[in-house]
Amino acid sequence: MSDATPRILATHLENFKHQNVRILGKVTQLRGENAQIDAGGLITILLGRDSHLTLNHAVEIIGKVQQDLTIRVLASTDFGTGVDFDAAAAVVDATHRYKEIFYGDE
């Protein structure tokens, strides 16, 4: 599937290098053009011009995994404070365990 953006956590970064992925995490640090989110582990993300992140809010990032396992953000969506991270982690688990309905070739 060419335009699928599989949901991942920090542990999957290594396996998805140079691919577009979707990550739901909690904003832990804001440092100008960079930020840090917690998605089952800390991930450094490089922000685009129109990304406005809020500390401690959940954010869904769509971006490309770089060689150094940081993410170059293509789009971000603020998900607020009501996110159930356990459910989100379950979705990531299901995504990879049953990937036939989430990403990859048939």
Binding site: D3, A4, V83, A87, A88, A94, E100, I101, F102, E106
Partner: protein, 286 residues
């Protein structure tokens, strides 16, 4: 072919053509009663399936009339959640491009020319980058797939996205692997999950999960067929089985409905007739 205009809250105009030339045709109604396009099928087969967009893009076409199968079972209505990438307002419809992380698909919501201005104003406004949930039918037109949607609504609780992905996974597993074995014991947790599915899904799927007790091999069938089957399995009876009348009395169903359910079960090969055509027993496979 002529189709009546069904006047409901989400009314749409239908252009007559459907199936292969599905671009102009759209069948309104909630699927369980009013489906002029499926007059040859009977309403008991209509279902609502939670799916991922990837599943829609890879759904198997069945015959010429534009029906599809996902995970080996026919789909009628589908529901899914995605982020709006694009909104295109056209004269006859609003086209949303929805992306749920598994793929992108166009969702066409027909413009209701009869709706009053107040009705239109009351509808929740959707903007790009919002997440929305859509309900509708998968269609194909000029080899391109899209969804003809009756309802496209913004998501209010952000966890609905996670919920939908997990629900789609469960349903996918149900159709590819059969109901989970833990439900056969009729355990409390199993029953609790089943209750919510039963409420949210229409017959075809809800019936599938609720049926437990070693019925892993039972094909998807209507709710009344499931009820009749369960009575045949559990009600005390002689080795002649149960008469149609006894089943109807037990379930408080009318004879016609029991007869139809019986036909379904007979053709599925899970029951058989004993002393006469209207006395049935469950086919036990040891």
């Amino acid at each position: 072919m002529s189709y009546n205009n069904y006047d409901n809250q989400y009314s749409t105009t239908s252009y007559g053509a459907q199936g292969g030339a599905g671009g102009g045709g759209f069948i309104p109604g909630d699927g369980s009663q009013n489906s002029p396009g499926s007059a040859n099928r009977g309403y008991s087969k209509d279902t609502l399936r939670p799916v991922t967009i990837k599943q829609l893009l890879e759904a198997q076409p069945m015959h010429q009339d534009g029906d599809f199968k996902i995970d080996g079972t026919e789909i009628t209505q589908v529901t899914f959640v995605g982020q709006i990438r694009n909104i295109s307002n056209q004269t006859t419809n609003i086209t949303y491009k929805l992306d749920d992380g598994t793929g992108t698909i166009e969702v066409k919501q027909w413009v209701d020319s009869d709706a009053s201005e107040a009705q239109v104003a009351a509808r929740p406004k959707l903007v790009e980058n919002d997440y929305a949930r859509a309900w509708g039918k998968l269609r194909i037109y000029n080899s391109k797939r899209h969804v003809g949607a009756q309802i496209v609504r913004p998501i209010t609780d952000i966890n609905e996205i996670s919920y939908h992905m997990l629900e789609a996974t469960v349903v996918h597993l149900h159709f590819t692997r059969g109901p989970p074995e833990s439900l056969n014991a009729g355990a409390g947790t199993g029953a609790a999950t089943n209750g919510s599915y039963g409420q949210q899904q229409q017959m075809g799927y809800g019936g599938g999960i609720q049926d437990m007790g070693g019925n892993a091999g039972l094909p998807a069938m209507s709710a009344s067929a499931k009820k009749v089957y369960n009575v045949l399995k559990t009600m005390p009876q002689s080795n002649e089985g149960l008469h149609q009348q006894a089943i109807a009395a037990q379930l408080n169903m009318d004879m016609g409905e029991v007869a139809r359910a019986g036909d379904e079960l007979l053709s599925a090969g899970v029951i058989y007739t004993t002393v006469d055509d209207v006395t049935w027993a469950v086919l036990e496979v040891d």
